[in-house]
């Protein structure tokens, strides 16, 4: 298998090096850039499969670079930033980035996100078009109604029967918030009484299986004080 090339961009050389070492350990080929312009230069000359991009950089910041890259290329971009607020994340994602990781990051988590983005990017064409009608999809989350399997970025996830039912219910109505009682009644098919805990425990388990960082879920979210939903992406 050919090595995937990843471009790491940050004005802090130590961070770039640390990320590079980790990526090389995972078997990727790494290119380094230390500002936005350099990154754009490399991207236009080299064949690259993924970019890890810092926001606050000299010459050209990460958000402008993202916009520039998106004008031509569809390669996954993971933004790496010290800005941790929701508004910063939303801004980064709306500029065309695929993921947003806050500094200081967990190396394992970053590696997982890189893998997941690459999988999704490289296997996008694999999805059988004819089967689309039987697929429930939300971002990298894909539920096949026929084979009753769930894949995250192409990687199959093993779920119990109850968990599968919950995911199916939530994925049929992405974005809709389900209270615990409704989930219970429709999945367990029993009248619901004090089921918050039961449902929440299942939700948490599903999250641990499908989310890279269950503390900051991307797909399956708790709407505090209201219910649960799968994000419509």
């Amino acid at each position: 298998m050919e090595k995937h090339r990843i471009l790491v961009v940050d004005d802090d050389r130590e961070i770039v090096n640390a990320i590079a070492i980790n990526l090389q350990n995972e078997g990727y080929e790494v290119l380094k850039a230390f500002d936005g312009l350099q990154a754009l230069d490399i991207i236009s000359n080299q064949n690259i499969q993924l970019i890890i991009l810092d926001v606050m950089m000299p010459k050209m910041d990460g958000l402008s670079a993202t916009l520039k890259i998106r004008e031509e290329k569809n390669i996954p971009i993971i933004i790496l930033s010290a800005k941790s607020e929701d508004t910063d994340k939303i801004l980064g994602l709306s500029m065309g980035a695929d993921d947003y990781v806050t500094k200081p990051f967990n190396t394992m988590e970053l590696m997982a996100r890189v893998k997941s983005q690459l999988r999704r990017y490289l296997r996008l064409g694999d999805v059988n078009v004819a089967n689309r009608a039987n697929l429930l999809q939300s971002g990298g989350l894909c539920f096949d109604l026929e084979s009753r399997t769930l894949t995250v970025d192409g990687e199959p996830v093993r779920l119990t029967a109850t968990e599968m039912k919950i995911v199916e219910l939530l994925m049929r109505f992405p974005g809709r918030i389900f209270p615990a009682e409704e989930i219970y009644e429709r999945v367990w098919e029993e009248p619901a009484y004090r089921v918050e805990n039961t449902v929440m425990v299942h939700i948490r388990r599903i999250r641990e299986k499908i989310e890279i960082n269950p503390k900051e879920p991307k797909y399956l979210k708790v709407v505090w004080g209201i219910g649960y939903k799968i994000e419509k992406i």
Partner: protein, 682 residues
């Protein structure tokens, strides 16, 4: 030079207007007086422009002389010698311009200055013989009066003109009625009137005066019209000066104006006729008399013109600028020297005093009025009116002050509610103006202070944001390399231990920075909120389920008591989760092993309270509010994990989410209470 001319242009225009109107009005008045004197005979106006012989003045003069002579002859016996002499003297003043002859055969009366052939006059009915150059004469032959001009006889009775006939009637009327057959009277006027070197000839004077007065009048008329036309062309300039005059007039008190008006009116109304010196015999006196009347009328006219423009320009000020108001404004200035409460009281006392004085004066005048008739009634009424006006002004002022006080109180309320920009506008002469000004400057000061505070708060936030960013970047490297070290194989055991400690501490530092950042943002209200309708018991249950693992690992028993039906509040769910998470983590960390943690959710009317109670695993030696201070931890040793910001974050977040947060300590019992306002279910 140029500017000076421009400056004086309004004055010039106004003076032209003044002179033009004065001259034309004067001429009109003179004409009316003349017409009035001639009893409406318009022909009198032609006199200056026709031959003197044809003029009414000549005929009037002749008729006058003739009447005097005739009455002398007709009733000579009834007059004294001195009267006869005086009459003859006045005829003789004409000198050679007048020849007369009057005879009454009945009592042998004869006066004459015709020396030639007196005898020829003795025949009744015969024309008297006259020297050459006297071709105009009046002659009564005992039967009939004739006016003869160059031999042409004009029957006076047949004259179309009313004027001489009436005069004639008047002349005859002066003589006693009766038989005049013995009377013959002749009066002849010289063809060429000459000056009498010894006395004043009225004929000659009349001729001279009439020959020039017409041209003078026409000249004046033309001049007046020209001036008026000039003034009309320069109307704006004239109006400008009108306004200037009005502003001068405006400085005059109303009372003075009224008094002056009265002074102008009284002589005209009461003494006007008497002031007219009469229609003198002498043209000079006559002109002087007319000029006098004209001057009085024109002066009145201009006075009322001034009053009129004053009224038009100054409007209400015309009435409000009076003695009473000036006194009141003087008093107002005067009372400003005293402290506010003194001046307010003093004002009330002054009113009572002034009213008393006015009442007494009024009563005195009333008593005088009952004695002297109605004349003193007017001042009594005026003084009573002034008293009522004073009360009105006092009450009006009182009303204004009360309403100003009201708006002052409203404004204080406004400031209390945080409005720092709206200024209270109030009349500068209001009683509470200084207080309002002070309040406004206090407000301004507060506004500046608040703005400064907000600015420094914002700077603090920026600082914290930047610092946290600058802290995070090196920390990222630390964590990354510690992680790389961690993966390194074949290191000695003790090095692995060191690396583990490094990993723990850098993780701790990361949490601390994030907590600090969140807290600073929240406590400066810079945290965006996502307010929603939330079921609070559900949120508590979700949080507990979410934290199931650490709870189970702690070995503590949780006693949760929440209502089954939803309790809705409007808040930010994520923040509420963070609050509960922090509080539960706190309880897990500091609870006595094996003890129970109680979580109760109680609804009381429109308030819901969440209580978390746990038994501390150490002695709580701090005050309740001390624990809420940032970085304060229950255990002073600071041995455990955590930033020490957990409770502070919980408190700050609760407050920005619209709730209230309190901590109670009772022995080993640590109790946190969160209170929120409930929403109705729909």
């Amino acid at each position: 030079m140029d500017t000076k001319l421009k400056k004086s242009k309004p004055f010039t225009a106004w003076i032209c207007f003044f002179l033009g109107v004065s001259i034309i009005t004067g001429l009109l008045i003179s004409v009316f007086i003349t017409l009035g004197h001639s009893r409406g005979n318009w022909d009198v106006l032609q006199d200056p422009f026709i031959d003197y012989r044809e003029s009414i003045a000549f005929k009037q003069r002749t008729a006058d002389y003739y009447g005097q002579l005739f009455s002398l002859a007709a009733a000579s016996s009834s007059y004294g010698a001195s009267y006869i002499d005086a009459t003859i003297n006045s005829l003789d003043d004409e000198g050679i311009n007048l020849k007369y002859y009057a005879v009454n055969k009945k009592n042998n009366f004869l006066v004459q200055n015709i020396t030639s052939k007196p005898s020829s006059l003795s025949d009744s009915g015969k024309m008297p013989a006259l020297p050459a150059g006297y071709n105009y004469f009046w002659y009564f032959d005992g039967q009939k009066l004739r006016e003869i001009d160059h031999g042409k006889v004009i029957d006076i009775k047949r004259l179309d003109s009313v004027y001489p006939r009436e005069l004639l009637d008047y002349s005859f009327n002066r003589a006693p009625a009766g038989d005049y057959s013995d009377v013959q009277v002749l009066l002849a006027v010289r063809d060429n009137l000459v000056k009498n070197p010894y006395a004043y000839s009225k004929y000659y004077g009349d001729q001279q005066f009439l020959s020039i007065i017409g041209w003078i009048c026409i000249g004046l008329l033309v001049l007046g019209l020209l001036l008026l036309v000039f003034a009309i062309i320069n109307r704006p300039s004239k109006r400008e000066y009108d306004r200037k005059l009005a502003s001068w007039m405006g400085r005059m008190w109303l009372e003075v104006k009224l008094l002056l008006s009265l002074l102008f009116l009284v002589p005209w109304g009461i003494f006007g006729i008497r002031l007219f010196p009469g229609w003198g015999d002498n043209w000079f006196n006559r002109v002087l008399g007319i000029a006098w009347v004209v001057c009085i009328i024109i002066a009145c006219l201009w006075w009322f013109y001034l009053i009129l423009i004053d009224l038009i320009v100054n409007r209400q000020k015309f009435f409000t600028h009076n003695l009473l108001n000036s006194f009141l404004s003087w008093y107002r200035k005067h009372e400003k020297r005293y402290p506010w409460q003194n001046s307010m009281l003093k004002r009330a006392y002054m009113l009572v005093g002034a009213e008393a004085v006015l009442a007494i004066i009024s009563v005195v005048f009333l008593l005088a009025a009952s004695g002297s008739g109605g004349l003193a009634l007017l001042p009594a009424l005026l003084i009573a009116g002034a008293g009522i006006y004073l009360i009105y002004r006092y009450l009006k002022r009182y009303d204004e002050t009360i309403s100003d006080l009201g708006s002052l109180m409203d404004h204080i309320e406004l400031i209390k509610n945080g409005d720092m920009t709206t200024k209270l506008e109030i009349a500068e002469d209001a009683d509470i103006y200084p207080a309002v000004q002070n309040l406004n400057s206090i407000q301004e000061g507060m506004d500046i202070a608040v703005t400064e505070m907000m600015k420094s708060e914002r700077m603090k936030i920026d600082l914290i944001s930047n610092v946290s960013h600058d802290l995070k970047t090196p920390l990222t490297s630390i964590i990354s390399y510690v992680d790389l070290l961690n993966k390194e194989d074949g290191l000695p055991e003790h090095v692995n231990d060191y690396i583990k400690i490094l990993a723990q501490k850098s993780e701790h530092l990361k949490n601390l920075i994030q907590d600090l950042f969140d807290l600073s943002k929240a406590s400066s209200n810079n945290l965006p909120l996502d307010m929603e309708k939330i079921d609070l018991p559900r949120l508590v249950k979700q949080t507990l389920a979410d934290m199931e693992e650490p709870i189970a690992a702690s070995g503590l028993v949780f006693r949760v008591n929440t209502p089954d039906e939803p309790v809705y509040i409007t808040s930010d769910g994520k923040k509420l989760y963070r609050i509960l998470e922090n509080l539960i983590m706190n309880a897990l960390k500091y609870s006595l092993a094996g003890s129970r943690v109680f979580i109760d959710l109680i609804v009381d009317r429109n308030e819901v309270t969440v209580t978390i109670k746990n038994t501390a695993n150490y002695e709580m030696t701090f005050e309740e509010d001390e624990i809420l201070q940032r970085f304060v931890r229950g255990d002073k040793s600071r041995s455990s994990e955590g930033s020490g910001l957990g409770l502070s974050i919980a408190q700050t977040f609760t407050e920005i989410c619209g709730g209230s947060f309190s901590v109670k300590i009772d022995g080993d019992l640590f109790k946190v209470e969160l209170r929120f306002k409930t929403e109705s279910a729909n």
